[in-house]
Amino acid sequence: MPRNTIEISETIEHLTILNENDELDASLEPDIAADELRRLYRCMLLARRFDERLLDLQRQGRIGTFPPIQGQEAAHLGAVAPLRPSDWMVPSFREMAAELWRGRSLENIIIANNGFEQAGAMHADSRNLPMAVPVASQIPHAVGLAWAAKYRQTDDVVMTFFGDGATSEGDFHEGLNFAAVFQVPVIFVCQNNHWAISVPLKRQTRSGTLVQKAVAYGMPGIQVDGNDLLAVYVAAREAIARARAGDGPTLIECVTYRVMMHTTADDPKRYRTDEEVQQWRRRDPLPRFERYLIGKGVLTPDVIGSLKAEIAQEIQVAVARAEEQMPVLRAQSLSVFDHLYADLPPYLKAQKQMLAEELSLSDEESANG
């Protein structure tokens, strides 16, 4: 009857496999086929180069504001790589590498970043949800999809992404609680990049780690070095297997860093030091993974060279194609009335007509004026 410490029964772990000094814990090294490793490396490189290119385009006024992902590629790709195509991905807004892996095209990203509704179009069987801008709001969607996948007796799972800042929102809490209560097959991947715009992790929450928040939901949690693709991969693979087996959700915290600005509208010099950024640049996941693959003989400098050329070309073609399409899309002014509802109610038909007249009158006026 005296004062007792309550035992926490949830498993909360940390995992690193290939650390920033290139030390590998071989006992934990996952057995990934060489081909798959090369695909992962290629996608990582593509995401990095494309991110850089997007920044150029933004600075040239050729796309709108966007959130760079640099430094988080391993935490994206390690997580989605063990998914099947029939599994679902529910992104936040900073998972470009994961989206590329799951089939999104470079053109589409460029067009979307120019404010085109039409870029939302996707295959009728796409299992990727569109980006969710309101922080954490996508988390309950993942739970609903997972519930449905279980209800339909499939063994598909759902993976959702969100940031460290997102863990403060009510939707994070409610979503994880629902997932645990209903024991649905969902994997919660927190991209702890240490910053939510200007708010550092330690002002976001007082908890020692983000992963320990799993304790609140009676859910297992694993924290991984998010710049170690192998660790992310292993943690995700385990969580996916658990979900697929019907054993419920997992919280994965990927410890990584946002080396760039929050979005291109942000100036991080206002709130953080360059030293901090430099420290994290040294833990860059891309060269770390590259050295590992070279060491393993999966890649050679030659192969890397030709990959780079290939990727440069791919990006150039995508930009050109996107810029070709946009004037066409821009001319589809009446398309804003599409897809609000399945059918256009009478007063919206009238409003569409108003806009059509407006546009033709404007055309006339400019023709006359």
Partner: protein
């Protein structure tokens, strides 16, 4: 045909749709064993099991958010929010996602979901249990806002809402839940969403109401007939949004006079839009200003004073007379 209360009629709609379509899932707080705090979902868990009737934890944002995910999968969740006064927790999920997923995905994901919630006063309830804030949802493009006025149309509209490919907020007047019974056919009956209905014909004045306000409005119409010899045309909106004003316009072009009645507070309420539409579509036919009989611009008072807040037959009659004598 059985005589049913609105609670029973809504229950029948849920049951029959669940029988016909295994995509229909009922979810919310206390909707399972308890059958809902108003007993609207009574018996469903016994018939369909826990897989189709979900007692959720106490979190309205997650109820709506999870339903968004289920709808994205292709299911047809029907959520119950225990009182409409707690639906605000779901606001961002509805505004930011339910209303937008179809457009955001250019048609890939449809949001066939229903959010049912009891609304309105008149049952001696606690604070937050008596509001009529349908205008919030009506002003949100991408949502549909439906309010039935009796057992039979509640059933037929709910069936339509469940089958609708777009998200429907479905407000149920708790004052009507057990107020009266109507014949409700066992066989399927569907009322189209987006179409008001003339429930009483008349040539002298148009009275526009919905939900719990329909009955006092009909009473007022009878009184106007009896005492003033005035033929009031009564229109039941049924759908607040998307608002189709065709019928309203026709009626007011004929009568030249109109009164709009709602329990919701006055300013920026649903009545304002109806007035604005009629000004746009029937201005030259109007013989008097359109009157609004509404709740005052207050939070609905606690129950010791709510009867003065909710439009009464008397207030409707007076407003109609004012319009006619204007």
């Amino acid at each position: 045909m059985a005589k049913m209360t609105m609670v029973q009629a809504i229950n029948m709609a849920l049951r029959q749709e669940m029988e016909k379509d295994d995509r229909v899932i009922v979810m919310g707080e206390d909707v399972g064993l308890d059958g809902g705090v108003f007993r609207v979902t009574e018996g469903l868990i016994e018939q369909f099991g826990e897989q189709r009737v979900l007692d959720t934890p106490l979190a309205e944002s997650a109820i709506a958010g999870m339903a968004v995910g289920m709808a994205a999968y292709g299911l047809r969740p029907v959520c119950e929010i225990q009182f409409s006064g707690f639906a605000y927790h779901s606001f961002h999920q509805l505004e930011s996602h339910a209303a937008r997923f179809r457009r955001r995905s250019q048609g890939r994901f449809q949001m066939s979901l229903v959010l049912r919630a009891p609304y309105g006063g008149g049952v001696r309830a606690l604070e937050h249990h008596s509001e009529s804030r349908e205008a919030y949802w009506a002003h949100t493009p991408g949502l549909k806002m439906v309010i039935p006025s009796g057992p039979r149309n509640a059933r037929a509209l709910l069936v339509a809402a469940i089958r609708d490919p777009d998200p429907v907020i479905f407000y149920e007047s708790k004052a009507l839940y057990r107020a009266f019974r109507e014949e409700v056919p066992e066989e399927e009956e569907v009322l189209p969403i987006g179409r008001p209905r003339i429930v009483r014909a008349g040539d002298d004045i148009t009275l526009i109401a919905y939900g719990a306000m329909l009955r006092p409005t009909l009473e007022a119409a009878e009184e106007l007939q009896k005492r003033d010899g005035l033929g009031a045309e009564v229109i039941d909106l049924l759908t607040i949004s998307p608002l189709d004003d065709t019928l309203l316009t026709e009626s007011v072009r004929k009568t030249g006079r109109a009164v709009v009645i709602h329990e919701a507070s006055r300013s920026f309420g649903p009545g304002a839009e109806i007035v604005a539409r009629l000004v746009e579509s029937a201005f030259y036919y109007l013989e008097a200003p359109i009157e609004r009989v509404t709740g005052y611009d207050l939070i609905i008072p606690l129950f010791s004073q709510e009867q003065n807040y909710i439009p009464s037959v008397r207030r409707i009659v007076r407003a109609a007379r004012k319009t006619v004598n204007a």
